[in-house]
Symmetry: C2
Amino acid sequence: MDYKAILTQNGYRLSQPRKQVIELLQTSEVALSPQQIHQALQQKNCELGLVSVYRTLELLTELGLVSVVYDPQRNPGYMLSTVGHLHHIVCQECHKAIEFSASNDIDQLVQRVEQETSFQVLDHFLQLFGLCPDCHQKQIAGE
Amino acid sequence: MDYKAILTQNGYRLSQPRKQVIELLQTSEVALSPQQIHQALQQKNCELGLVSVYRTLELLTELGLVSVVYDPQRNPGYMLSTVGHLHHIVCQECHKAIEFSASNDIDQLVQRVEQETSFQVLDHFLQLFGLCPDCHQKQIAGE
DNA sequence: CTCTAATTGAAAATCTTTTTCAATAAGGAC
DNA sequence: GTCCTTATTGAAAAAGATTTTCAATTAGAG
Ligand SMILES: [Mn+2]
Ligand SMILES: [Mn+2]
Ligand SMILES: [Zn+2]
Ligand SMILES: [Zn+2]
């Protein structure tokens, strides 16, 4: 995903903090909190303020480059997102998250709920929780 | 819903703060934040600490009497819940929220995602957003 | 290379939530 | 109803998270 192009096309500069946050997120299979991102970058000797992490995440979310993914205790974290509207399934053990699409199934549900409730449905939030293949295996092996 | 019975059956007392929070939530069509609950009760001359609001909400959530419902900006709020596993649809204008059930539709989706991702799905979070009948009408009238 | 405006970072301000602990009150026993 | 025990409360402090401010820095256009 060409984040550089997306930033410049929208009139934003590719600053060091932005580059560093994005490159860190590219290596992470789990959603990270602002603090986790800040700490991880400190340890890699990237000097940047926590404030910039917040600002960068806000911008990237706005641009659709980053999605908010909740951990099993419902704490929000941030992950790079591929383009388009997707949902996440999160491992309750290791917090690894991957995307899935659900348009068709959701459309059907939305139509039914609109009839039942008389609400007009415009948006939705869906996330699944469970065990990733690795953690599932470990659980079977352990018991 | 007999919250009094549920509290005592689980060994909890029916204290004034608990009674006041529950009775306030019974009158609200929108999910309220701890601060909103505190302020609303202050104005009704119920003297109780914000700390007790937090503690009460935590307990009631644990007992399943209260659900967390997110507003359109994803700020969490609290609402009384009817028994059983239900989801909420929230009005983007007035934040009014009502419950709906989705078991069948979700089961189907879960099965597909399990096949596609090899994750084992154990839990899910789903919320819809849109316009309640009133706000939908107003929008049509206004334009 | 120069210049300028966007961006950053340190500090302070602002919120939100949790912890502590002495005072209070709910509810069972009598 | 009164007494007693202990769960519960509230004020204050601590801890944590996020936002605001503003002077210093730097990305990128010219
Ligand atoms: Mn969707
Ligand atoms: Mn469900
Ligand atoms: Zn896992
Ligand atoms: Zn509405």
